[in-house]
C-alpha cells in the first residue's frame, strides 16, 4: 500500500470527570490510507467517537488529547495552532454525524449553504458559477432541484445526510469522518445512502473513516476494519479475512452476536458480561474477564497490537506463539 494519509500513534484521550479520569482512547495507533473506507467498530462507549473527534482536535469538553501523535498528510496536527487547525478542518477533513441537524445552519437554505461552502473554499469562483455547481451537486446526490431552496428541517433525514456528503464533496475534502451516518435512518434509506456513498467514494477516490456499531454496514462498505474494545484497538484487518476468520476472541464474540438475515438457524451466540469501566479498566488484556480463552498471562500483561500475518493485526496473547483459536 501507499503512504498513509493519516497516521495515529499512541493516541491517548481522557475525560476528567468527578468519578475519575476516563481514558476513552488509550494508546491507539492506526493508519488510514488514501482512497480506503476504514470501518471502526465496537460497542457503545468503547471510544470510537472520541477517536473520530480527536482527529479533528474537536474532542468534547471535558475531553483532552493527553498523549500521542496524529499525522495528517505529513503534518503533525497536535503541533498546529488553533487557526491552522481551523483552516485544515474547513478544507481537508469533513465530519458527518448521526444527526446532520447539528452541523447544518437551520436558518440557511440548502443552496446557500452549498454555495457558501464552495466560495469559502474557492473564493475565485463567482456566485453564479457556485450556484451552478451547487445545482449539479444536488442532482448528483439524487435530490430534486426544487429542494435547493428548502431549509434543513424541510428535508428528510436521508436527504440531510446526502447534503452532508455533498458539502464534503464541495470542499473536495481529503478525509471524511462519518460517525454513525446511517444510525437514525430507515433501512431502505440507509441502503440508498450507502449506495451513494460507495459510488462517490469510487468516483472521487474518497478516504472515509466509517464509525459505526452496525456490523452489517461495515461489512457492506468497508475495505478494512478496526475493532475497538475498551479504548484500545484489538484487531485490524482487511474486511474479508476479518469476517471469514476473526482472530481476537472479542471480535469472534462480537460477530457471533449479530443477527444475520442470510444465515440459517435462529440462535445467536451470547457474550457474557459487559464492557469494563474506563476509569479503572482490568489489568492485562481488558477483555480477559469475559474471554473464554483467557489464561494466566492475560490478566497480568497487556498484549500489544501485533502484525501476526501481512495486514493482520491482533492484540491477544493467544497468537504470541501463533497457537491461535478458532471458535465455531
Amino acid at each position: 500500500m501507499n503512504e498513509p494519509l493519516v497516521r495515529i500513534r499512541d493516541l491517548v484521550v481522557t475525560y476528567k470527570t468527578r468519578a475519575g479520569e476516563v481514558r476513552a482512547v488509550d494508546g491507539v495507533s492506526l493508519d488510514i490510507y488514501p482512497g480506503e473506507v476504514l470501518g471502526l467498530v465496537g460497542e457503545s462507549g468503547c471510544g470510537k467517537s472520541t477517536l473520530g473527534t480527536a482527529l479533528l482536535r474537536l474532542v468534547r469538553h471535558p475531553g483532552r488529547i493527553v498523549g500521542g501523535e496524529i499525522w495528517f498528510d505529513g503534518r503533525n496536527l497536535l503541533a498546529l495552532s488553533e487557526e491552522e487547525m481551523r483552516r485544515l478542518r474547513g478544507a481537508h477533513i469533513s465530519m458527518i454525524f448521526q444527526d446532520p441537524m447539528t452541523s447544518l445552519n437551520p436558518l440557511q437554505r440548502i443552496s446557500d449553504h452549498i454555495v457558501e461552502t464552495i466560495r469559502t473554499h474557492k473564493p475565485e469562483v463567482s456566485e453564479e458559477e457556485a450556484r451552478k455547481q451547487a445545482a449539479e451537486l444536488i442532482d448528483r446526490l439524487g435530490i430534486m432541484a426544487e429542494r435547493l431552496d428548502d431549509y434543513p428541517h424541510q428535508l428528510s433525514g436521508g436527504m440531510r445526510q446526502r447534503v452532508m456528503i455533498g458539502l464534503a464533496l464541495a470542499l473536495r475534502a481529503d478525509l471524511i469522518i462519518a460517525d454513525e451516518p446511517t444510525t437514525s435512518l430507515d433501512v431502505i434509506v440507509e441502503a440508498q445512502f450507502l449506495d451513494l456513498l460507495k459510488e462517490l467514494q469510487e468516483e472521487f477516490g474518497l478516504t472515509i473513516l466509517l464509525i459505526t456499531h452496525n456490523i452489517g454496514v461495515v461489512a457492506q462498505l468497508a475495505d478494512r476494519v478496526a475493532v475497538m474494545y475498551a479504548a484500545k484497538l484489538v484487531e485490524l484487518a482487511d474486511v474479508e479475512p476479518l469476517f471469514a476468520e476473526p482472530l481476537h476472541p472479542y471480535t469472534q464474540a462480537l460477530l457471533a452476536s449479530v443477527p444475520n438475515i442470510r444465515l440459517e438457524g435462529d440462535t445467536l451466540k451470547i457474550m457474557r458480561g459487559s464492557p469494563p469501566d474506563l476509569i479503572e479498566p482490568p489489568p492485562g488484556c481488558r477483555f480477559h474477564p469475559r474471554c473464554p480463552h483467557a489464561f494466566e498471562r492475560c490478566s497480568q500483561e497487556e498484549p500489544p497490537l501485533k502484525e501476526i500475518r501481512p495486514n493482520r493485526w491482533v492484540a491477544c496473547w493467544l497468537y504470541e506463539t501463533e497457537r491461535g483459536v478458532r471458535e465455531a
Binding site: 428528510s156 441502503a191 452489517g216 464474540a253 438475515i261
Partner: protein, 330 residues
C-alpha cells in the same frame, strides 16, 4: 381451548387529526388526518410470536397502542380472547389489562426514576390487589431471578439510573411479566441496546415466552432481529399490511415488491454478501394524503396503470401467506 386466536384485529383504523394553526383554520374548513393505521386485519394466535415490521411511520406503534387500548380506534374492532375491547366498561377494561402488558423501546423512559427497581416491578401487584408487603417482595425477587437481574436482593434497592441499559430493560420485562399476562406487546424492545446486549435480551425473551406460555406482538423495524424470534410476520407500509405470513415463507419468497426491497436492504454482516440489487427510489410519502391505489406504486419498479387506480386487497396467495399486490394476484 376455546379460541386459537388470542387477538383478532378487524378493519382497524386510526386517523390522527393534523394540528392546524389559527390562520389555516380560517382559510380552509377541510380537516387533514394522519392515517397512521388505515384498515388492517390480522390475528395473533395463542402461543406465537407475531411480528409487525416496516419502516418508521408505517403505523406499527399505533397498532400496538390500539391493541393495548391505550388509544381508541377511529374505526374497526379488536377482539381479545374473543371479547370486543370496545364493549368493556372501565372496570372490566382495567381487569383485562392484567392480561396484556407492554415493553417499550426506551426502558429509561418507562421506569419511574424515583422508584426502586424492585418496587417498580411489583407495583402492579399492589394496584391489582394481588400481593403486598413481604409476599410482593418475594414474588418480585423470584421474577428478578428469572429475568437475570441478579443478585435480586441487591438490585431490588437500586434506582433506574444505577443500572445498565440491559438491566433496565430486564426490569421492564420483569414488570411486564409479574402479572402473568397472556399477551406481551413488545415495541422495539431491543432497539436501544448495544449489539451484545441485544442478543442477550432476545434470548431472554424467547426463553421467558416458553416458561410463561406467552404470546408476543413483536414490533420491530429490523428484519434481521425478527428472524430470530417471530413465527409469523406482517409487513406494514403507510398504515397498511402489504404482506403477512409464516416467517420462513415471507423471508424465502417475499411476494410484495416492498417486502422484497425491505429484505434486500438489510445490511448483511458478511462482506461475501454485498448487496447488488438496486433500491426503490425516493422515500415513504406522507401518511396525510397517501398515494391512490397501491400506496407503494410511486416507488414500485413493477407498477402498472391498475396499481395507481385500485387498492389491492390482502389475499391469500399460498397457504397462510397473504399479499396485497395486483401483480401477484394475477
Amino acid at each position: 381451548m376455546a379460541n386459537a386466536n388470542l387477538v383478532e384485529v378487524r378493519g382497524l383504523r386510526k386517523w390522527f387529526p393534523v394540528q392546524r394553526s389559527f390562520i389555516e383554520r380560517l382559510v380552509t374548513r377541510q380537516r387533514d388526518f394522519v392515517r397512521a393505521v388505515d384498515g388492517v386485519d390480522f390475528e395473533i394466535r395463542r402461543g406465537e410470536v407475531f411480528g409487525l415490521a416496516g419502516e418508521s411511520g408505517s403505523g406499527k406503534t399505533t397498532t400496538g397502542r390500539l391493541i393495548l387500548r391505550l388509544i381508541e380506534p377511529t374505526e374497526g374492532k379488536i377482539l381479545f380472547q374473543g371479547v370486543d375491547l370496545a364493549s368493556l366498561g372501565e372496570e372490566e377494561m382495567r381487569q383485562m389489562r392484567r392480561h396484556m402488558q407492554a415493553i417499550f423501546q426506551d426502558p429509561y423512559a418507562s421506569l419511574n426514576p424515583r422508584m426502586k427497581i424492585g418496587d417498580a416491578i411489583g407495583h402492579s401487584l399492589e394496584i391489582f390487589g394481588i400481593a403486598k408487603g413481604q409476599e410482593k417482595r418475594e414474588r418480585v425477587l423470584e421474577m428478578m431471578e428469572r429475568v437475570g437481574l441478579t443478585p435480586p436482593s441487591i438490585l431490588y434497592e437500586k434506582y433506574p439510573h444505577q443500572l445498565s441499559g440491559g438491566q433496565r430493560q430486564r426490569a421492564v420485562i420483569a414488570r411486564a411479566l409479574i402479572l402473568r399476562p397472556d399477551l406481551v406487546v413488545a415495541d422495539e424492545p431491543i432497539a436501544m441496546a448495544d449489539v451484545s446486549v441485544r442478543a442477550l435480551l432476545l434470548e431472554l425473551m424467547r426463553r421467558l415466552k416458553e416458561e410463561f406460555n406467552l404470546t408476543y406482538l413483536f414490533i420491530t423495524h429490523d428484519l434481521a432481529t425478527a428472524k430470530y424470534i417471530c413465527n409469523r410476520i406482517g409487513v406494514m407500509y403507510l398504515g397498511k399490511i402489504v404482506e403477512m405470513g409464516p416467517l420462513e415463507k415471507v423471508y424465502r419468497s417475499p411476494l410484495h415488491p416492498y417486502t422484497q426491497a425491505l429484505l434486500a436492504a438489510v445490511p448483511v454482516p458478511d462482506p461475501k454478501f454485498r448487496r447488488t440489487q438496486p433500491m426503490p427510489k425516493g422515500e415513504i410519502p406522507s401518511p396525510i394524503n397517501p398515494p391512490s391505489g397501491c400506496r407503494f406504486h410511486p416507488r414500485c419498479p413493477y407498477a402498472e396503470p391498475i396499481c395507481s387506480e385500485e387498492e389491492p386487497a390482502l389475499v391469500e396467495a399460498e397457504a397462510d401467506h397473504f399479499v396485497a399486490c395486483h401483480l401477484v394476484q394475477r
